[in-house]
Amino acid sequence: MSTLLQEAMAQNRTVTGRVTDASSNEGLPGVTVLVQGTQVGTATDATGSYSINVPEGGTTLIFSFIGYTTTERAIGNATTINIGLATDAKQLGEVVVTALGREEEKKTLGYATQEIRSEVLTQGRERSVLNSLQGKVAGVNIQSQSGAPGSSSRVVIRGNKSFTGNNQALFVVDGIPIDNGSLGANGATGTADNLNNGVDVGNRANDINPDDIESVNILKGPAAAALYGARAANGAIMITTKSGRNVNKKAEITLVSSYLVEDVLRYPTFQNSYGQGFFGAADLRENTSWGAKFDGVVRPWGQIVNNQQRIKPYAALPDNIKEFFNYGSNFTNSLSLSGGSDKGTYYTSYSNTRQNGITPGTEYNRNTLTFKGSTKLANNFSSTASLSYIKSGGDFALTGQGNSVFNQLIQTPRDIPVRELEDLSNPFNNEAGFYSPYTINPYWAIQNQTYTNNVDRLFGNVTLGYKFNDNLNLTYRIGTDFYTDRRQQFFAIRNVEGQNAAANDNGMYSETQIYNREINSDIMLSYIRNLTTDLTLDVLVGSNVRQVSNERLFAQADALANNQFKNLSNIVGTPLAYSYRDMIRLIGAYGTAKLGFRDFIWLEFTGRNDWASTLPIEDNSFFYPAVSLAFDAASAFDLSASTPINVAKLRANFASVGNGGELAYQTRSVFVTGNITDGFQGTDLNFPFNGMPGFEVSNVVGNSQLRPERTTSYEIGADLRFFDERFTIDASYYDQRSKDLIVSVPVAYSTGYGSSVLNAGDMTNKGVELVVGGTPVKTTTGFSWDISVNFTKNKNLVTRTYQHSPISLGGVSSAGLYIVEGQPYGVFQADDIMRDPQGRIVVTAVDGIPRVASEQSFIPSITPNWQGGLVNTVAYKGARLSVVVDTRRGGKIYSRTRATQRFAGTAPETLTNDRQPYIIPNSVVQVGNTDEYVENTTPLTNDNLYDYWGNLPESTNIIDASFTKLREVSLSYKLPSAITQKTFFGNIEIGVSGRNLFLWTPDENTYIDPETNNFGNGNVQGFDYSGSPSTRSWGGNIRLTF
């Protein structure tokens, strides 16, 4: 026996076999096959087949491949070993995409990143990539601005770092930054007139088709993003799109279809006791519910038209507002074709998303066409090209205080049947016959005040690589992103006689053409080498050239000849025209070197120097360094052998990144065309004045000494994994100080100017991010339960403003948003109730109504205290259930819905004392102009309750913005291959999903989803300003591969 055995062992022998994907049974090329305990190894070929010479003493084969569980097989006497590898979700995360599109092992990184795979990203079938990340990542605040089709989202990582500049993360697709612009609806200036005439036209990062995405990796800190230079301070969202897979040279076709139904997530709570009227009595023309108590008696309502009048019971219609909204829908179809060989891969896809809004007539369409291909050429060249064409656009509803549909709707008295107003051919519903002179028919507003846009966008890049040898690679990449956005706004003429004449309007038509282009060109030389058996070196040097240009053309006819056609020739008078263009350029040179020692400690240095066109030409250069350290104690001390600790990685980094300003033309003073306004819409005096040009000295003083902004950041963190990685903790603490912020500093107007561009602000962000993950249950039968909790606390503090002066961010004059020294970013400054020195409410003697304090109050702030998310995933065989809950605590929002409901007498609080006379508790009257205050004896009565509620100072309309949302629930089932094998489908997966299904808010918020913001996705957040409500959605989806 023993002799025989010896002989057998001494013999080399050949084992062959095929490695496949366990779920698809498709061959896996490139799998490493290693004989355990030896240096003998090979890789599978394009079909997944291999052949290996097993040396004497070899007993076990190890099969390993990125993304799959490493599997061992005893050889025994076998000559053929076929094996199916199972995917390993955790393993997949180990190589991540970092700045400039580099692929690096996660364990070697000294900074925090968090990766979201396509499966988790698309499980909710959300249109927006950004919204799809909500609740799933720590340190990132993602705010969807409304439920209107195509509406924008705002993404801020680790807090705002700039006062008035861009605070949103940089978006990078396959290594090339793309534009994430969001120009306001008012094309003349690009700054929206959100007060009167707001439209959320979306933001450009939402153009991306989520189904094209392989993974999203979030580089949270400046150290991580430092190679991106100026824009690194805000962190980066690295999107990697799908590539063709090298699968048997056979094309893989994937079809994904989903259909979601949408409805309003939060309706305001209404009172249902009092109806249309004023002073406690009926008034058939009122837009308010200050009338008599409901009695159910059938009475006429609305105007008398042709000697006729409609009748209805005088009773509350609890759902009259609700009935206005439709069920919206979101129908998405995405088809992709991919394939490859060992010499090249390709991926191409087409997708269509059609969203019909909850507001009748609103819609958004997006078509995307993507191609990505790569080749490896014989003479050491490689190339990749990707190109995406996106056509998107929509039909949007106006928001704001003017004639917006939402402003009309919310004022509707409690007994007016909104749905009966829909037929505009009905003489009771048209412009003249509509019941109220104070509002207009919301259905008329939708049909006759339109805003549409059309975006054509192309972005892509070409990458060429040359491999000098195994250590040295040269890469050149050029990418561009450009789009045109053509917008048309139309307001019909209203010209009627009678009670509704006050809303007569000359009509308006405008066209805006926006053109934007960004070009990035990078050349990079990388050198990777094992210096000794213990020491590895990874060096990269490169240069970047970036150019961003914008153009806008705007023309408006502000009085129309008729309502028949939408063209600038439809005009009475002269058109207003406006053009604008700007361009910035930046040149950067960068380098990074990472030293690794024994696969457990890595030290990386990064440096970049930028030359920016936005800075004074003689002083436009700035340098910034970063250093990071990663140390895995588990590997260093081999803890995994003796303890349940698998990974005990500690991270530390420092970075100091500069920002030369994204804004052109700040270094010189100019003259500007005279324009004077009182803040209302269309009431400006605009030069030329009767043909006479007028150029005024600009109110902004240019600054020829402008310096770059600088953010200095320290970060420490830990990545701890226990029990075969079934329990993981990833924690970070960071301390970021942004200094010399470039800000248009307000100066006293008595200087002759309003602001000067200065380096004049400091702000800090300190925060903690925590992601705790676990797999409490995992059975051999395939059942697993994964849970992941993320927690984010970012403490933002404005530490310096110029001369301690508040800086206005925007908002309304009676409730503006400011940057205030010693406060977090975004403090409301609002009219407030006048109080005596004891804090009692000072009222007017004659009517008992609170007086308004002469000076406004500061109310901090829009910044939340903390936020968190919980992701639960249960999987069993082909079934997978995922539930995402997220919460945001603290922060304030101004609610115009509250203000309007108070004014219109529809808020439940207006029922105080059943609208019988009452004296405001703890109120006093000022004696003359003295410091003496006496008790108030004047009650509020039905004659002025409307005045009291309607004119409460705006500070009382600023409410707690905390919320908790059941963000996402998805259930999917992949049919077993036993079934699919009998079909021509590779995979069949069906699912149901829902988003934003439930919303919990503090008691004082009975009005809105506090995540809403109607002032666009810029820095002015926290304004509910009569916009589209947010939505919840649910539906089904199917994914087929062929």
Binding site: F279, D283, P437, Q499, A501, A502, A503, N504, N506, I519, S521, S543, Q547, G573, P575, D582, R585, I587, A589, A612, S613, N620, A664, R668, V670, F671, V672, T673, G674, D678, G679, G682, T683, D684, L685, F687, F689, M692, F695, E696, V697, N699, V701, P746, V747, A748, S750, T751, G752, G754, S756, Q803, T844, V846, E855, Q926, N929, N944, D947, G950
Partner: protein, 489 residues
């Protein structure tokens, strides 16, 4: 395609060569959208526009409400703050105070500075005269304000608040220097002078009338200074604006070129707010004044359709309001609320009334106070387009015919008619002269007043922007605190 290739080539080139071509490649930061320089010709109209806009809009509302030509209708409550005499530090800030200092004053200063630098004294004179005019409006509104240390850009970020007394003294000096420059150099282009089309003789008259106005404002607080100054003017043969010489800025019925009150109230608000105050309307009716249908329009609907009917001041902002739509009352009429209504800086009528007061006070002689008063009324009729015959008819009316009497009785009659002539177009001056003189004596506080007693607003609250940005901000002054020259009960 050619251009695109060039760009890509440039980008590649720059990448390859690194920073050698940096300088030119990055030297692109010149704003292509706005000029980096201007001329007096291009900037003077902007200054006029800014001044006229505020006088014709925010100050038109403020002045005509406080002087009780207009009041809030019950159909809305947009301007109840004005009726309640309620004002905050944000009310007249970034669109009013800012438009005066960073708009009109800074642009007039540019015109004056450039006029001096380019050796064109006429431009310098116009720029300086208009600065004086504007500063007087500002100090009359807010009291102590930045003056000599204002408008210095980053050189002085906290301009000092000077006493109104000091400012009034300074204005005379500044005005005298400006008058000296008139006509001493080459003529100026006409079209950019939106007031007089380049007629420097009229500018001299305007400056004299302005000087008279500045002196008379001090008639109660510094009578000796006023008297001496006015006497000196007459001794030097000063000429004033006469019939048909109203200094005003015209508006045009074109997009965003229309009268700002028309644009804001009639167009944007749909005319739902402003209606006639009975204080003014009933006085016109009592005296059978033919200007009634120029200043006001008849009610469009309701029981008084076709008639002239007003609302008692402020009552529609009180619990006893009726709540009727503005269309049930007289709204501002064709002479004050049309797209092309001009905004007078100093009207011919005002010039005569100023002269009449100077004579009535016995400080100067020449024409009688009575004849100057009559000419003031005739100039007002002329300006709104009423015939001289109707003016003659009015002058027969009891209470209108010049009655003489004590100085104070004469001043009351002059100011009361001056107040009427300001209806709808010079609201701010109407309120300001009411504050100075207490006339018309029949003005009672708004029914909605928050001030209590017989108090009326005496000033505008300092803007928030000054409170937060100017280290010399003097602190809150309530609306009930009078300005320096406001000493008469």
């Amino acid at each position: 395609m050619k251009i695109k290739n060039n760009y890509i080539l440039a980008a590649v080139f720059a990448t390859m060569l690194g920073t050698t071509s940096c300088e030119n490649f990055l030297d692109i930061n010149n704003d292509p959208n706005n000029p980096s320089s201007s001329t007096p010709t291009l900037t003077l109209p902007a200054g006029f526009g800014e001044l006229a806009y505020v006088l014709g809009n925010q100050f038109q509302f403020l002045g005509n409400f406080y002087a009780q030509h207009w009041t809030q209708s019950g159909g809305a409550n947009q301007y109840c703050d004005l009726e309640q005499y309620q004002m905050t530090s944000s009310t007249y800030d970034t669109r009013v105070w800012a438009e005066f200092y960073a708009g009109a004053l800074n642009d007039f200063k540019y015109v004056a500075d450039q006029g001096n630098a380019l050796n064109n004294p006429n431009y310098a004179a116009i720029g300086e005269i208009m600065q004086v005019y504007t500063v007087q409006v500002v100090t009359d509104a807010w009291g102590d304000v930045p003056y000599t240390t204002a408008l210095q850009s980053l050189e002085n970020l906290s301009p000092e608040y000077q006493s109104q007394e000091e400012i009034y003294t300074g204005l005379i000096t500044q005005l005298d220097a400006a008058i000296e420059k008139i006509g001493t150099g080459a003529g100026i282009a006409g079209q950019d002078d939106l007031v007089f089309g380049g007629d420097m003789d009229l500018w001299r008259k305007f400056a004299n009338t302005l000087k008279l106005k500045i002196y008379l404002r001090q008639a109660y607080v510094r009578p000796q200074v006023a008297e001496a100054g006015i006497k000196a003017m007459y001794a030097a043969g000063a000429e004033f604006l006469g019939m048909d010489e109203t200094a005003d800025i015209e508006f045009f019925n074109q997009t965003q070129n229309r009268n700002p009150f028309f644009q804001t109230q009639v167009t944007f608000r749909g005319g739902v707010d402003v209606v006639a105050s009975n204080t003014s309307l009933e006085f016109l009716q009592t005296t059978n004044d033919a200007r009634l249908d120029n200043f006001y329009a008849p009610a469009e609907e309701g029981t008084n359709a076709g008639k002239f009917i007003g609302v008692n001041q402020g009552v529609e902002c009180t619990p006893t309001r009726l709540g009727l739509l503005a269309t049930n009352y007289s709204k501002p009429g064709p002479a004050v609320a049309s797209p092309t209504t001009a905004i007078p800086l100093i009207s011919a009528a005002e010039s005569y009334f100023l002269q009449a007061e100077a004579v009535a006070r016995g400080w100067v002689s020449g024409s009688t106070a009575a004849s100057l008063y009559e000419q003031g009324i005739r100039a007002s009729f002329d300006y709104v387009g009423e015939s001289d015959a109707t003016a003659t008819a009015l002058l027969q009316q009891p209470g209108v015919a010049y009655a003489g009497g004590t100085v104070e009785e004469q001043v009351e009659q002059i100011i009361t008619q001056k107040w009427l002539s300001f209806n709808g177009t010079q609201g701010f001056e109407a309120w300001t002269e009411y504050r100075r003189t207490g006339y018309p004596s029949f003005i009672e506080p708004s029914a909605a007043s928050n001030l209590g007693g017989s108090l009326l607003p005496k000033r505008i609250i300092y803007p928030n922007s000054e409170a937060t940005r100017n280290e010399n901000y003097p602190g809150l002054q309530e609306v009930s605190v009078p300005v320096w020259w406001d000493v008469k009960d």
